[in-house]
């Protein structure tokens, strides 16, 4: 795959001119929206970053869990839960027999899995090109309260839970993760809804003194 030909699915929602573009994992993304101090401040209130460049891999089928285990992947035991691999990659179990795996920052697990031996019967590849977001900050629950009708408070969400719900009318996958000393939420949605959902969430974030920030604020690998 010639990854330099990739552009983030959220690109349409990004302002022209005032932001810094760069290439991460071969994908054109915005690496900085405002000055670093301001991005730090936004992050405290309600930061939102584009993580769509992180490689993704998906399989489903009755033998998918076994196949992943054979590849040395940690498989979450419960449906609608997630686990972390030692390299920091994420494994989300979407229902009983479908999995979404996302590379750790700087990792390449998904590419390895894609190239792995032919998939046995009952294992089907699922291409994943979702728009992907990182959210954090004091007001993140206020954002959730506006875009989602179900209870997403920390107490309700559980530790390793994956929630498939709707944000502002769009189907999303959501999980919570404590990483690099912070509480963060990860959100994935169909790439075609990416610009819309970004505009909605970034707009709400702005109202709470937050807003878009570069991914380097969350993953030190991209600072």
């Amino acid at each position: 795959m010639q990854t330099e030909k990739l552009i983030t699915p959220i690109a349409h929602a990004f302002p022209v001119g005032s932001v810094a573009w760069g290439v991460i994992n071969g994908m054109q993304v915005v690496t900085r929206f405002v000055g670093s101090d301001e991005e730090e401040a936004r992050k405290e209130f309600l930061g939102i970053a584009d993580a769509s460049f992180l490689g993704k891999f998906g399989v489903k089928g009755r033998n998918a869990a076994q196949w992943l285990q054979d590849q040395g992947i940690v498989v979450p035991e419960q449906p609608n839960s997630w686990a972390g691999n030692a390299d920091g990659s994420l494994v989300l179990r979407l229902g009983g027999s479908e999995f979404l795996i996302e590379n750790a920052p700087g990792g390449n697990l998904c590419e390895k899995l894609l190239k792995a031996d032919a998939k046995p019967a009952g294992v089907y590849l699922v291409p994943h090109v979702e728009a992907s977001f990182v959210l954090s900050g004091n007001a993140v629950q206020e954002l959730f309260a506006e875009v989602c009708s179900i209870d997403l408070t920390r107490a309700a969400l559980g530790v390793q839970e994956v929630v498939m719900t709707q944000f502002a009318g769009v189907s999303v996958v959501l999980m919570h993760q404590d990483l690099e000393g912070e509480a963060r939420y990860r959100v994935w949605c169909d790439s075609s809804y990416g610009p819309y959902l970004w505009e909605v969430m970034a707009g709400i974030a702005n109202e709470h003194s937050g807003g878009p920030i570069g991914i380097g604020n969350y993953f030190s690998a991209y600072k």
Binding site: A121, P127, E130, E146, S149, G194
Partner: protein, 963 residues
């Protein structure tokens, strides 16, 4: 002269902050925390509005958000409720519904001609003669309504939020606070909402001459403060009940939809007025309104008043008035047995006489009708419910506090499906059977005594906790009050009327009697004929009296009359609140920005934004579209088709799945080939169509139109649940973009980009190959939807823009042009392809669109087969035909959905129509009767103007016929 009292404990006003504002052009001042009404009343202003129908002067009634005669505008907003909305600095207020101002309202003359406007007059006016309808409509439209809608009102964001709690308590009075505390002790999430600006309910104003209530309020609030898991929200009303304990809570800032584990309704009761002549003159107000004025705002309701009561509550009001230094001319009690009771004795000790078994027969207004001058008191016969006018006493006074009883604030209980019963002890409707997870406590439950309300709140909290699974002891139940808190019939007839039952709509006692005489003697019919309860306060102070009157007229018990239907929302709620932020989810193709740069004008197709056409300077839309079509017909065109549905079916049973799901044959289907798919529903109706491309024996790639993609995938999942075949379904609509290159030069455009042969022999029509363009993997499909020579490129979404640019670059010298959905629809029409959803509707079966070729009835089974076999035995009712208008037709252009008319009767409709420059005719599809579907048959289309346009049935092979 100021009516403001000295500073007192618990008052809501901040005397350190003076607010200046104007009302009807006159300057006033109040304090921060004042409502508009309280600030005006404190300044001696008593005529605060005009009534809806008769334009009578009105003042305070409830001071509880039900004073709809005191609605004002600030020039920007309208129908602002003066009784509860805080006054703000700089407000320039005026009463709504006046013609010339509240004092000199020219419409006040209507009051003097009220006999000409009996109940239901407008229904009758509209009824006969019919020719007068426009005349009455004009008059009544002008007269109806209150404030004037400001169409320049700015859009102010009102958020709609979602919240979740274990226990939701509605009402922040003694009962609600007690319930919240008891529930909160569990550590669970408890939310209490109350519509008033401050918590406390009646504890904050109904003191009855002692400090017991005020002290209890402080005590409960202090206890609740120690529970961080309890959220107390004032200024928030629970607006309705929806299934699964979903309650929208409305504040000035927006709506929060609260989902609760259990709900405690401690919503209290609305005080009900006694009905007597001129009970609407400014200065006549509910007893609780007088108390609110006294204790919330420290304002005297009047200086020398009369309390007219029909229950014990009036004596509490009297005590509060006396404590505030207000003179009382008398307490008039409708009940004959009140004279010797302890309450009357207490008042007597303070020098106030009680006139028992009597009523206020009428109120006399002062000279300019701005207030009360005196009241006439007579004896009242409780058996006949008549005033005995032989001995009249006139009492000079400047105000009346009236107390007749209560109506439970049970709106949400009704909405939740609570069965109510009429309790003859307390004389009130109380819950009889509550839905699971909902608990009622306090006055709404018929419990009135203070200690009992606290106990009832705790009892409800224990039940709420038990409901959500906590192991807590159940507390003893509290019975409704055995002493009547409401009078069974607090109505004083008067030959001159103006004894108002409904203050919103100016409905008098005689209106109900006349309505019943005219046959409207069912509560729902009476409501609609008299309009009782249909004003902005929705009958909160009138429905109960209306029920009592109707029961009396019909001679049946109150419970046989029943109540009207309670619907959300509890109070009128601004449209902006309901709109909220306004989410409009939409999908963009990965080529959206590319299209935009090319001048695309977008249109909505399902959830997608698609390019309708590409603007060309100096060309109109129609010519632009025709030019795009021409490019495809003569050279090559390119269209972004990324919104097409795309689904992969994996697994050894993939072909079998298709065999069952669609109408055609897929066992076997050669790898690399494509076949037409038609999907029916179980009743044999055409749902969708598309193509099935066989990539491997165990992998089919399905493509379909934009609009139905998600629904088709859901249906596949549903059937797979039933069939349990060895397959895997993957919806890849978002994962793959699609680009179509069509036209005679399409092959030439692509041939240098791909590493496979595009010759007809190597890539015939209806085939698929996997290849690459500049290293990007591509599924290349040969289709014939818009042109015989069309290539569809399916590529990973993130690389779509890259591939598009490559193709555009390759086609530049060959005249490759982008085309949009407008041209696409014309192109497919020229190709003679009917489209499900456009040329079919929710009833169309395959035989009606001549799609027999797509059906394999010899298969064991497929969705809709059984229905189709039945349908096949019946005669076809309509047939989709291709048609053209006469050569050179230049008249009015018919549109889609215009009717096919034959001999004055509707025979069918046009489903698609457009002018084709390629064909040189207007062409289209239409439904006609089967017997008129033969080639060459003529029919007529009725255009929008009514003109009939001739059309001829032709072959759908428009292009082939052209050749």
């Amino acid at each position: 002269m100021s009516a403001r009292l000295a500073r007192q404990k618990g008052e809501w006003v901040n005397r350190a902050s003076t607010i200046k504002f104007s009302f009807e052009g006159k300057e006033f001042s109040g304090f921060e925390g004042d409502s508009i009404t309280s600030a005006l009343w404190a300044s001696g202003e008593q005529v605060l509005g005009r009534s809806f129908k008769y334009h009578r002067p009105r003042g305070i009634l409830s001071l509880a958000n039900h004073d709809i005669n005191v609605m004002v505008t600030d020039g920007m907003d309208t129908n602002i409720r003066g009784d509860v909305v805080p006054v703000a600095a700089g407000m320039a207020l005026a009463a709504v519904n006046t013609d010339g101002g509240v004092k000199k309202d020219r419409s006040r003359l209507i009051d003097s001609i009220s006999p000409l406007l009996p109940v239901g007059f407008y229904y009758k006016a509209f009824h006969t003669p019919k020719k007068m309808f426009p005349f009455w409509e004009n008059i009544i439209r002008k007269a109806a309504g209150l404030g004037v809608v400001n169409f320049n009102y700015p859009r102010i964001l009102k958020r709609k939020l979602h919240a979740h709690c274990d226990v939701l308590v509605i009402g922040g009075g003694a009962t609600g606070l007690s319930a919240a505390y008891e529930a909160g002790k569990s550590g669970l999430r408890v939310v209490l909402v109350d519509e008033n600006a401050q918590l406390g309910g009646s504890l904050g104003f109904d003191w009855g001459g002692s400090q017991e209530s005020a002290n209890l309020l402080q005590e409960l609030l202090a206890k609740l403060e120690s529970l961080p898991n309890v959220s107390l929200i004032a200024g928030a009303y629970a607006a309705g009940y929806y299934p699964d304990h979903l309650i929208p809570v409305v504040t000035r800032e927006g709506i929060t939809k609260v989902r609760a584990g259990s709900v405690i309704m401690a919503s209290g009761a609305f005080e009900q007025p006694p009905v007597f002549r001129n009970n609407d003159i400014p200065g006549v107000m509910l007893g609780s309104a007088a108390q609110r004025l006294l204790h919330r705002y420290s304002v005297k309701p009047f200086s020398n008043g009369v309390v007219f009561t029909a229950n014990d509550y009036g004596y509490r009001v009297a005590q509060d008035l006396l404590e505030a230094g207000i003179k009382l001319a008398a307490v008039v009690d409708l009940r004959s047995d009140a004279k010797d009771g302890p309450l009357a004795a207490q008042l007597a000790r303070r020098g106030v006489k009680t006139i028992a078994g009597s009523c206020i027969y009428e109120v006399q207004a002062n000279a300019d009708k701005t207030g009360v001058k005196s009241v006439t008191v007579t004896e009242y016969d409780e058996k006949t419910n008549e005033a005995l006018t032989r001995d009249k006493v006139t009492l000079e006074c400047d105000g009346v506090a009236m107390c007749a009883g209560w109506a439970p604030a049970a709106n949400l209980l009704y909405q939740a499906g609570t069965a109510m019963r009429y309790d003859y002890g307390v004389h009130q409707f109380v819950p009889n059977r509550l839905p699971a997870g909902i608990f009622a406590a306090g006055r709404v439950n018929g419990v009135y005594e203070l200690a009992q309300k606290v106990q009832d709140g705790a009892r409800a909290a224990a039940q709420a906790l038990l409901h959500i699974g906590l192991d807590v002891p159940e507390l003893p139940s509290v019975q409704p009050s055995t002493r009547a808190q409401s009078h069974a019939y607090p109505i004083v007839p008067h030959p001159k009327g103006k004894n108002f039952v409904d203050f919103d709509e100016d409905i008098q006692v005689k209106d109900f009697i006349n309505a019943a005489k005219e046959g409207f003697d069912n509560i729902e019919l009476m409501k609609r004929f008299t309009t009782v309860g249909m004003g902005p306060s929705q009958g909160k102070h009138s429905n109960m009296n209306a029920i009592r009157i109707l029961a009396r007229v019909r001679g049946v018990p109150v419970e046989q009359i029943g109540t009207t239907t309670s619907r959300p929302f509890f109070h009128p709620t601004p449209i902006g609140h309901l709109g909220g932020r306004g989410f409009h989810p939409h999908r963009l193709t990965p080529l959206h920005d590319v299209n935009h740069k090319l001048g695309a004008v977008f249109t909505d197709v399902g959830a997608w934004k698609r390019a309708a056409y590409y603007k060309v300077a100096g060309l109109g839309v129609a010519d632009t579209v025709l030019a795009e079509v021409e490019a495809v017909r003569t050279k090559a065109g390119i269209i972004d088709s990324s919104s097409f549905g795309k689904i992969e079916v994996h697994g050894p049973d993939a072909a079998l799945f298709l065999e069952r799901f669609f109408t055609g044959n897929y066992i076997p289907q050669a790898v690399g080939s494509s076949r037409y798919t038609m999907l029916l529903d179980e009743s044999g109706v055409v749902v969708d169509d598309g193509l099935a491309h066989c990539l491997a024996e165990d992998l089919f790639y399905l493509s379909s139109g934009t609009s139905n993609a998600a629904a088709v995938y859901r249906e596949m999942q549903r059937w797979q649940q039933i069939w349990q075949l060895d397959i895997g379904l993957v919806n890849v609509t978002g994962a793959y973009a699609a680009i179509n290159v069509a036209g005679p030069l399409a092959r030439q455009v692509l041939s240098g980009l791909v590493n496979i042969s595009l010759d007809d022999s190597a890539l015939p029509a209806q085939s698929i190959r996997e290849t690459e363009i500049a290293g990007v993997p591509v599924r290349l499909i040969r289709v014939a939807f818009v042109s015989d020579s069309t290539y569809e490129l399916h590529i990973p979404t993130p690389q779509a823009a890259f591939v598009w640019e490559r193709v555009m670059g390759a086609g530049q010298a060959l005249g490759l042009k982008p085309f949009g959905t407008d041209a696409q629809r014309l192109l497919r029409l020229e190709m003679g392809h009917a489209m499900p959803g456009i040329d079919t509707d929710g009833l169309t079966n395959p035989y009606e669109i001549s799609a027999e070729h797509a059906i394999s009835l010899d298969k064991p089974d497929f969705i809709g087969k059984r229905s189709l076999q039945i349908i096949a035995k019946r005669p076809v009712k309509k047939t989709l035909v291709a048609f053209e208008l006469d050569a050179g037709y230049a008249g009015e252009m018919p549109f889609e959905c215009n009717l096919v008319i034959r001999q004055g009767e509707i025979e069918g409709r046009v489903t698609s129509i457009a002018y084709s420059r390629t064909i040189g005719r207007v062409i289209g599809f239409a439904y006609v009767a089967p017997e008129h579907s033969a080639l060459g048959s003529r029919f007529q289309i009725r255009a929008d103007s009514g003109a009939l346009v001739n059309a001829t049935v032709v072959s759908s092979q428009f292009l082939a016929m052209q050749k």
